[in-house]
């Protein structure tokens, strides 16, 4: 049998893993803080949360949205704290790419070198043995390791559980929260009890990981910090004084990385967005972009009350247009097209056959609802206006003035979002003028909103008044791809 020692790759992976897991925990808490409520059902209905990590209460005499419910956590707890969901998402996703790659390398090396013997049990008798070991720990004594192995039975089972169950569980429940994955494989999100089931399980997985880390540290203290860190640094229990020092230096370096990531995100979020985005954008285009929506929820699954994010245009022009049922509203479609056009609502309704889709809506903040949307497939409008060859993106300009209408969000000015032109041809990319069989409600974007079912909600512009085909995002706002990308540093390509 392989000697179960501490080869260099195992030691390196251990410390890299400490860095990645702690980055994932802090950035994950940042993402949680933006909607600090956990549910089991897809509708995320207010009041049905099984856990609340906020003391905020909402007044119900005015329309409130989920931006109002957002929490600002301390930077000690979350990366980077201070309500910076965009930054938290960048760090979470860049780290998870690194974590998965390191994890794959770890699995391969574990099995290629025979080191798997340290974790994988040989017989059922390990369970009663682990129970006996637990009783030994509870009587403040240390049990004996398994014969010829570095770990006792309860340790072996715990590491096996973390490495082969908990870590994959966190990745799988994370993937189940990607709108692209949910849209392409609705059965997969059902497997976890739905979108909110996946989110709640992901959170419980986080708690399990934190509990593991706490017990792990306690055990190292019990068994002897210098001896065990020597094994994990030098590969054998020697130079105990140096091992203690080196372990503290490594931990200090990891803390420094956290401080640097936090400070960089708080002081210069635009450079974080550009640097991490240069990896994340191509990765998502490659892996998640091909996933087109194939969702057909049943009418009985529709949420009685679909949540909202964003408030309607608070202008007299809009209100007068609304009270006349939007007969004076016009949609202008122009920019880099052969044939610029203007549509009234009646003209849009008369365009081709009405398409209806019942789909799961994913907010970037983590809540979800199921709605039925009807309208004209966007590709039909695209085919009528005929984009010029240089058109690469589509900008949706809305009647919302964020400074006036959305005091809970940073930033101001007209709201716009930009999508890549290929998304316009996706099967469920829809210009929706109806919801649940009725004219699109004002709070959901009347008279017209976008639906792209493999993206998170903020991309689906509401209260649209103009659609412009462009060759580049540069020159539109800060040039990052949309109002939220420009103003609150969200990531582009939001298939997750």
């Amino acid at each position: 049998m392989t000697q179960l020692d501490y080869p260099a790759w195992l030691r390196i992976e251990h410390w890299v893993n400490v860095l990645f897991v702690t980055l994932l925990i802090r950035s994950g808490i940042e993402i949680l803080s933006t909607h600090p409520k956990l549910y089991w059902r897809n509708d995320s209905k207010p009041g049905t949360e099984w856990a609340r990590l906020t003391r905020k209460t909402m007044l119900t005499d005015k329309l409130y949205d989920t931006l109002d419910e957002e929490e600002s956590y301390s930077a000690i707890l979350s990366l980077p704290g201070h309500k910076m969901l965009g930054m938290g998402r960048h760090w979470h996703f860049i780290t998870v790419i690194g974590w998965i790659l390191v994890g794959i390398a770890y699995y391969i090396l574990l099995f290629a070198t025979g080191q798997w013997h340290r974790y994988i049990p040989y017989s059922w008798s390990i369970f009663p043995q682990a129970w006996n070991d637990t009783l030994t720990y509870l009587s403040f004594k240390l049990p004996a390791p398994l014969p010829g192995q570095p770990l006792d039975a309860v340790q072996k089972l715990t590491y096996a559980g973390v490495i082969f169950i908990l870590a994959p569980f966190l990745i799988l429940t994370g993937a189940a929260q990607s709108p692209a994955v949910e849209a392409r494989f609705p059965w997969y999100v059902r497997l976890w009890g739905g979108r909110q089931g996946a989110r709640s399980l992901h959170f419980l997985g986080l708690l399990a990981f934190i509990a593991f880390i706490a017990v792990h540290l306690m055990m190292i203290g019990l068994w002897g910090w210098p001896q065990l860190t020597a094994l994990m640094i030098f590969g054998e229990a020697r130079h105990l004084g140096w091992a203690l020092t080196a372990s503290l230096v490594i931990i200090a370096a990891i803390v420094l990385v956290h401080i640097a990531a936090t400070q960089w995100s708080l002081r210069s979020p635009r450079t974080v967005q550009r640097a991490l985005g240069s990896v994340l954008i191509p990765a998502r285009r490659l892996i998640l972009r091909p996933l087109a929506s194939a969702q057909h929820y049943s009418s009985s699954q529709l949420s009685a009350e679909h949540r909202v994010n964003g408030k309607p245009p608070d202008s007299d022009d809009y209100k007068i247009m609304a009270v006349h049922n939007f007969v004076d509203w016009k949609l202008e479609v122009g920019g880099l097209v052969e044939n610029p056009m203007t549509f009234t609502l009646a003209e849009l309704r008369a365009l081709g056959e009405k398409q209806t889709q019942r789909v799961l809506h994913n907010c970037v903040q983590g809540w979800s609802s199921i709605g039925e949307w009807s309208g004209v497939p966007f590709r039909e409008v695209v085919n009528m206006v005929k984009p010029l060859p240089q058109a690469r993106h589509v900008c949706f300009l809305t009647m919302q003035d964020t400074g006036r209408d959305e005091p809970s969000a940073e930033g101001s000015g007209q709201f716009y979002e930009i999508i890549d032109l290929p998304l316009a041809y996706y099967p469920q990319c829809l210009l929706a003028y109806e919801m649940n069989g009725h004219p699109l409600p004002i709070k959901h974007g009347a008279p017209l909103r976008l639906r792209i079912e493999n993206q998170v909600g903020f991309k689906m512009a509401k209260w649209i008044e103009r659609i412009e085909f462009v060759s580049t995002c540069q020159g539109i706002g800060q040039g990052m791809g949309g109002w939220r990308e420009d103003n609150v540093y969200y990531d582009r390509e939001v298939e997750i």
């Binding site: 049922n325 609502l345 209408d405 009725h438």
Partner: protein, 90 residues
């Protein structure tokens, strides 16, 4: 065109009459042509959906009756008590 918008309230003849009384009292005139005769349409409750609005505010649809008007659709903002609730008539 399609079903009635869920947020709109259809007014009765008497409620429409009260709206016109209020428009007359406020000397309301058309933004486009200056005309002062209107047909009353539906009402939209503003208090819940719009941040800046008082909790009893409505927008009532008015259509200018001048056939030459270039933009006949307009509206008047009224509190509930002035046209909708069966409040005391003054």
């Amino acid at each position: 065109m399609g079903a009635i918008r869920p947020e709109l309230t259809v007014l009765t003849g008497e409620q429409k009459h009260r709206v016109l009384e209020q428009v007359g009292r406020k000397h309301g005139s058309c933004r486009a042509c200056g005309g002062d005769t209107f047909a009353v349409g539906d009402a939209l409750y503003l208090g819940f959906l719009f941040l800046s609005e008082d909790s009893d505010a409505y927008m009532v649809a008015l259509s200018c009756t001048n056939p030459a008007c270039s933009a006949p659709h307009t509206g008047v903002r009224l509190p509930e008590s002035e046209f909708l609730s069966p409040a005391v008539r003054t």
